[in-house]
């Protein structure tokens, strides 16, 4: 369904259009809300955001994609709520940013690999996901990531948004966004690497 058809459908109250956007955006909206305000208020924020989307849709100016616009609404509502709750933004992740990638144990003092990456038995994206156990390990690692890292990785690598859009939605500086993305990817790479080493042993 292209975006114009979708918007027309939403404005006309078409059930298929609603079903489509909920299927596509609901999970993402929860990710963004959770990243900003935590899981306690996330569902409430997402509900409020849907209402705001419906009310504001006739005034949507199409300066960005519908998806970005919807996520921006979630982000704004979450931030407003956060100020009201007088909590600081995702403290764990902010503190995390101060740390460099924990690479100490991977490298020798001269910067060479201490233990080089192993050879992967499942060495294509298709093979990685075809192994049920490995897929489950990847999903578990994804769930275990700090909230902000998981959100950046999900929006970028799973949903394919541009980094500029993501940093905008989450109010991150570009460099912080890139650090979060890289840290998240490294953790997943490590998970897959460890899994494949375990399989060989």
């Amino acid at each position: 369904m292209d975006e114009e058809t979708l918007i027309t459908g939403l404005l006309a109250g078409d059930e298929a259009a609603f079903r489509h956007v909920v299927g596509e955006y609901h999970g993402l909206m929860r990710h963004v809300a959770r990243a900003i305000i935590g899981s306690e208020f996330a569902d409430e924020i997402v509900q409020d955001a849907w209402v705001a989307v419906i009310q504001s849709l006739p005034r949507f100016e199409r300066r960005c994609s519908l998806k970005t616009w919807v996520l921006q609404i979630v982000s704004n509502l979450a931030k407003t709520r956060l100020r009201r709750e007088r909590r600081s933004i995702a403290m764990g992740d902010a503190a995390d940013l101060e740390l460099l990638v924990a690479t100490g144990q991977l490298f020798q003092p001269d910067g060479h690999w201490l233990e080089p990456p192993g050879n992967w038995h499942h060495d294509t994206p298709e093979l990685l996901l075809a192994s049920e156990q490995l897929r489950a390990a990847i999903e578990t690692a994804l769930t275990a990531l700090p909230e902000m890292q998981r959100t950046v990785l999900t929006l970028r690598d799973i949903e394919g948004l541009e980094m500029e859009e993501i940093c905008n939605i989450l109010e991150l500086s570009e460099s912080n966004g890139r650090v979060l993305l890289h840290r998240a990817r490294l953790r997943l790479w490590q998970t897959i690497d460890q899994f494949q080493r375990g399989e060989v042993e």
């Binding site: 109250g13 849907w50 419906i54 001269d110 910067g111 060479h112 990456p117 990685l128 394919g160």
Partner: protein, 87 residues
């Protein structure tokens, strides 16, 4: 000359093509001479591509509830202060 550690730390910038041309050449030079880092970059690329395959929709129960709420909302918006659109 870049170290393996630099390759590890800047792999996403390389994959996202965010390195300056000079840094990119240095990066590629290192990859040319280092089999471990070539391996690492290939694995990172595989990891990132595989992630796109994890995309999933919420369960049908969540969708149903949400759609019902939205339909109700849009009907009240249409009959309220927001002007009616062509139907």
């Amino acid at each position: 000359m870049l170290k393996c550690r630099d390759i590890h730390d800047r792999a996403s910038d390389y994959l996202e093509k965010r390195l300056s041309w000079r840094a990119r050449i240095q990066f590629r030079l290192h990859l040319f001479i280092c089999v471990h880092c070539r391996n690492f970059i290939r694995q990172m690329r595989t990891t990132v591509t595989a992630l796109a395959g994890l995309k999933k929709s919420p369960d049908s129960g969540t969708i149903d509830n949400q759609v019902t709420l939205l339909l109700r909302q849009s009907q009240s918006a249409a009959s309220g202060s927001i002007p009616k659109k062509d139907r």
